[in-house]
């Protein structure tokens, strides 16, 4: 029997739309021996298990279900109902289905269909099937196969009267730089599974916005392992607090450390900063004194030193949180089985970067204050509305091949060790950027390239900004090498790339700010300080990276842009002014 006929046969038996002559299917089924019917059911179950697992992953990641899996979105109740009737499934299949079915209990309890609903005219599945009660327990059974009794009673599932054409096959994808990279979902059957990616945003005080995202790097997708990055960000008492962490690649549970570190750091800072008030100062000289360091690396203003101290203390308590997380998992059998020994703190090793931001007053005008500190690699930097930028601090790396320090490395979070690493910035702020090395390494060296990162995010239309008037755009363009809107619309500073994900892979258009600046004939800082030019680059060639929110667009951009040799997890949090520079 051809594999195509087999597929249609299975679809027919399960009451899904099929494309074949029904008579032929009936004949084929009748012609199968009982053993063959069992084999068919077995292999269908295994295939379905895999497909349904992909469906669940798509759900967990909050991504739209790929088109070729749309048929599966209504399948869950059907599947569990069928499973429930499998009193004599083969042990191997039952075990595998048991694992998948457990995941689906939650899916079934939520009847909201995911993705665009399949219209009822297209899908005729005969009499409606009552979904099973939400608490379905699937017990893998070990009995021998019964002598008689087909897997699904014919009456329960009535094949639809009219065949429905299957969805068209995805168009052939041209060879792209990511073609050789596989996508294997992150395993759900290990301890501490994390969502593959995350994207969040919120309004920050005093006319700022914050958004952040993390994604699984190509290497983890290829190997089928978890994302090891984490981030947390929030606001309190006029402050925005950001923590970003990168779990060590060689450590199996570093993602646990990254999460514990970020959560504890932010929680502690929220408590301290809730009660913090800056001294009442306004003049440049007062502020200069307050942020100047004395010979003991202490800031001139006690209120400034208090903030720097709080950031350092947060790094220390993050380390404690990682120790606690390891201790809580000691004696855990699943951990012992995976490590062949007891879990220890080093298995949760991670880097940690912290930055806090508040708007203060300088010469009667709003001015940004940032305090930051990091252990390990990654980058914290600020971009000024005048188009300049500064990296705050430096990556803690071993020289040659990028061995980094971790919060769990001996003495790294001692106050004395951290004191010289405290960073403070006071000045205009277009954006504060905190990121792991998965992003920082692509903009190397950081002192030169940080501005290009923010410019890239802007021309890819990722952050949301208050609109710039059209006349300003037209007037400013006139003075460049792309003097009209049409010239920008026709300019080529884009590449089409793909996200490494289950097929079909969606194409994403990624713009290069450096190329745009070159076509305009302006230097990068000039582009960065011009709201009209940034608007032109971001809007005149269409929508850029597409997504409902800045955080979602950032997630897609992190996932899609490709730099050769760069396969690490990527995490970036941005806190930016709502308006572009004028």
């Amino acid at each position: 029997m051809s594999s195509e006929l087999l597929i249609q046969l299975i679809r027919w038996r399960l009451g899904l739309p099929f494309q074949a002559d029904e008579q032929a299917l009936r004949q084929a089924w009748d012609g199968l021996s009982e053993t063959q019917r069992w084999d068919l059911a077995d292999s269908a179950a295994i295939q379905l298990g895999q497909l349904l697992r992909q469906t669940l992953t798509a759900r967990v990641e909050r991504k739209p279900l790929p088109e070729h899996l749309q048929w599966a979105s209504g399948l869950a109740p059907l599947f569990v109902s069928w499973l429930g009737q499998q009193t004599a499934a083969s042990p191997k299949v039952a075990q595998q289905l048991g694992i998948v079915a457990k995941r689906f209990q939650r899916v079934i309890a939520d009847p909201t269909p995911y993705g665009p609903p399949i219209s009822q005219e297209k899908v005729r599945v005969g009499p409606p099937i009552t979904p099973p009660p939400s608490q379905v327990t699937i017990r893998p059974q070990m009995p021998p196969r019964p002598a008689i009794s087909p897997p699904v009673p014919p009456r329960a599932v009535v094949p639809p009267p009219a065949p429905v054409p299957p969805p068209p096959p995805p168009p052939p994808v041209p060879m792209s730089p990511t073609a050789a990279w596989k996508y294997i979902p992150a395993p759900l059957d290990v301890p501490d599974p994390h969502a593959e990616s995350d994207a969040r945003e919120f309004d920050a005080p005093a006319g700022f916005r914050a958004f952040g995202a993390r994604v699984r790097g190509k290497k983890h997708k290829h190997d089928g392992t978890h994302c090891d990055d984490w981030f947390e960000a929030t606001t309190v008492n006029g402050w925005t607090v950001v923590a970003v962490a990168d779990g060590a690649g060689s450590k199996k549970f570093s993602r646990v450390g990254a999460k514990a570190a970020c959560e504890r750091a932010v929680a502690d800072l929220m408590v301290v900063l809730a009660d913090h008030t800056f001294a009442d100062r306004d003049s440049l000289s007062e502020w200069s004194h307050a942020i100047a360091l004395d010979s003991a690396n202490t800031f001139g203003g006690p209120d400034v030193e208090r903030v720097a101290e709080a950031v350092r203390a947060a790094l220390g308590s993050a380390y404690s949180a990682v120790c606690e997380a390891a201790a809580a998992r000691r004696n855990g059998r699943e951990y012992e089985a995976l490590l062949n020994r007891q879990i220890e703190v080093n298995d949760l090793s991670c880097t940690l970067l912290i930055a806090v931001h508040k708007v203060v007053t300088l010469d009667g005008k709003p001015c940004s204050f940032v305090a930051a500190c990091q252990v390990g690699d990654g980058m914290i930097g600020v971009v000024h509305p005048n188009g300049s930028w500064r990296v705050l601090g430096a990556a803690d790396s071993g020289g040659y091949s990028g061995e980094t320090e971790f919060v769990t490395s001996t003495g790294k979070t001692d106050p004395a060790a951290l004191k010289p690493k405290s960073q403070v910035y006071l000045g205009g702020l277009q954006a504060l950027l905190v990121m792991t090395d998965g992003v920082a390494d692509d903009y190397f060296p950081p002192d030169e390239q940080l501005g290009r990162l923010w410019a890239d995010l802007t021309v890819n239309a990722i952050p949301e900004f208050a609109a710039v008037p059209d006349e300003a755009v037209t007037t400013t363009l006139a003075g460049t090498n792309l003097p009209t809107r049409e010239a920008v619309a026709a300019a080529d500073y884009e590449t089409v790339l793909e996200v490494v994900e289950p097929l079909p892979r969606t194409p994403v258009t990624i713009r290069s700010a450096a190329e745009f600046a070159e076509l305009l004939g302006v230097e990068l800082p000039a582009l960065l300080r011009s709201g009209p030019l940034l608007t032109a680059g971001a809007t005149l060639r269409g929508p850029g990276v597409v997504g409902p929110t800045a955080a979602e667009r950032l997630r897609l951009w992190l996932d899609a842009y490709h730099v050769r040799g760069s396969f690490d997890d990527r995490t970036l949090v941005a806190v930016h002014r709502e308006t572009l520079p004028t």
């Binding site: 050789a180 040659y400 091949s401 040799g565």
Partner: protein, 215 residues
Amino acid sequence: MAEFTGRRLPVYLVLDCSGSMSGEPIEAVRQGVKALLSDLRSDPQALETAFLSVITFDSGARQVCPLTELMAFSEPNLDATGSTAMGEALKLLEQAIDKEVKKTTATQKGDWRPLVFLMTDGQPTDNWQGPADSLKARKLGNIIACGAGGGADLAPLKRITEIVVKLDNLQPDTLKQFFRWVSDSIKTTSASVQQVAADGPIQLPPPPPQITIVP
């Protein structure tokens, strides 16, 4: 294609092409290099980071392929003739690494530590001690030396590096297994470079039965 500015994994194959290799053995080496290339090209991490160079030695030594990325790499012509100037080859290797491998600076991401596979079937016929000692002392890379067949002298290899393996013979199948193991080693290394400390031992995949590790 835009120039790759990231960290590369430089791989040097240093191959004995002396007269004793003529006939089946050198043909097997040609096939082995071909298979190695094809294998590496299907691994995305290797494809993006591994750069390959081939140095051959017989009565003299030459770098028949400078360090090149996999997609642009063309297989070299390999012929077997002459004696075994391994000392020359080691000197050439040292020079090539000095010239081609990028060091880390404030503005440049350096390459990963080079991976070197040296294969010989006999004894060196030139002054090899000096070049061997120099190479070992400078710790320029991770060197895996392979003595192929009964005529191979393992002592010089042991002087260059701690990692010495032995091939039972020069049969086509044995050489094929050797190159497959070289390819696996490159893939494993390119997958784990970020986790290997500057001076840390590299992890090699277990060798097939035809290859014995010399303690």
